[in-house]
């Protein structure tokens, strides 16, 4: 699979992390199939497109991962609800009328099911009490081992002629953070002209350079574990042609800090 589609799917997954896991998997499967199908279609109709260029067009047409995350939210998100609300109100009234006929039939089945559920709940409660005791003993270790989101960024670029653009971003690492892990991914697309450069530079709060990918024309996947507290600055330099960049950081709490 194209690295550009992989990066895009990673960005989407972060935005739909509020959904139940099963639903997340279903959404990701649908989107992945859509993007692969569309990329294949584009390359079939526009023979001069490279795999990465087709992937960029497909992901761009699909939309911003952040907007997708909103659209998959509880309220239905960015989809215009003016007409939709009319349709849904009618649907709710229709389904209530159908439900009245079904309730009587389910009554006795419900009583038997309730007894079985009661036994299962009792067993679950016993298990939960035991788990609670174990959790109490190891709570500090558990809390320190949970990765928590600290920073993420993803961007793509596609130009038909050489250009240069720099984006500067920053994030805070507060007291109470034991350490954080940051992953960098640079995926330059296939070259359609001379030159292919992209660069990420991460600067620590004390001004030292913590990471510099260098001007690179090759796919780069790097991870660093860092711990300095304060404001970190990260600079993305896009130079020429096409590709994608993503950076994701997760931090670990220092629970036992005095």
């Amino acid at each position: 699979m194209s690295a550009i589609i992989e990066d895009y799917l990673r960005a989407v997954r972060r935005q739909i992390s509020h959904l139940p896991l099963k639903e997340q998997s279903a959404v990701m499967a649908e989107i992945e199939t859509h993007l692969k199908t569309e990329t294949k279609r584009l390359r079939g109709t526009e023979k001069e497109l490279s795999a990465d260029e087709a992937a960029l067009r497909a992901t761009h047409a699909f939309g911003d991962p952040k907007e997708l995350g909103v659209a998959y939210g509880a309220g239905g998100g960015v989809v215009n609800r003016t007409t939709g609300q009319v349709l849904l109100d009618v649907a709710i009234l229709t389904s209530r009328a159908a439900g009245r006929g079904v309730r009587g039939t389910l009554k006795w089945t419900g009583i038997v099911a309730a007894a079985a559920v009661g036994v299962a709940v009792l067993l679950l409660l016993v298990g939960l009490v035991f788990a609670g005791v174990v959790l109490n003993i190891f709570q500090d270790d558990i809390r320190e081992s949970i990765p928590r989101p600290l920073y993420d960024y993803s961007g793509t670029w596609a130009q038909t002629s050489p250009y240069s653009d720099t984006v500067t971003d920053s994030f805070q690492v507060r007291e109470g953070v034991r350490e954080f892990q940051i992953a960098f991914r640079v995926n330059p697309a296939s070259i359609t002209g001379p030159g292919c450069l992209a660069r990420i530079v991460l600067t620590a709060p004390d001004g030292t350079t913590a990471y510099d990918s260098g001007a690179t024309c090759t796919t780069t996947h790097q991870t660093r574990t860092l711990s300095q507290k304060g404001t970190w600055t990260i600079q993305y330099t896009y130079v020429a042609y096409a590709g994608s960049v993503s950076v994701e950081a997760m931090y670990y709490q220092d629970v036992r800090q005095a």
Partner: protein
């Protein structure tokens, strides 16, 4: 924002407002159909590929299924890449018919107002 940009935005807003009805209608006529096929069919019948972001349709399908207007099933592994096929439910058919009636009424009223204003 210049006139051309504004008109494009207006057209997008208008189309987006009726996306629920467009989706229900297309699934009613073409179902069972997977999301990709539905999007392409909608682009062809509305004559455009830039009225909405393709990703908007999938959350809408999920919403309509949650509300009982559509149902879905996953395709068999032998049928190729993993696809979810959607079809309309009886409740969805009823909602679609009512929505189409409301749309015709709305369009007649709008036409009268716009003709009156010249």
């Amino acid at each position: 924002m210049d006139t051309a940009d504004y008109l494009l935005k207006l057209e997008r807003d208008m189309t987006g407002g009726f996306l629920h009805l467009l989706v229900l209608d297309h699934v009613h006529r073409l179902g069972p159909i997977h999301g990709y096929g539905l999007i392409k069919a909608m682009e062809e019948s509305t004559g455009s590929q830039d009225k909405w972001k393709e990703g908007t349709v999938y959350p809408l399908l999920a919403l309509l299924e949650r509300e009982g207007l559509l149902k879905s099933r996953w395709g068999k592994p032998t049928e190729g890449p993993r696809r979810r096929y959607y079809e309309i439910t009886p409740a969805g058919r009823e909602v679609r018919e009512l929505a189409v009636m409301k749309w015709h009424r709305l369009r007649r009223n709008l036409d009268k107002i716009l003709e009156r204003d010249g």
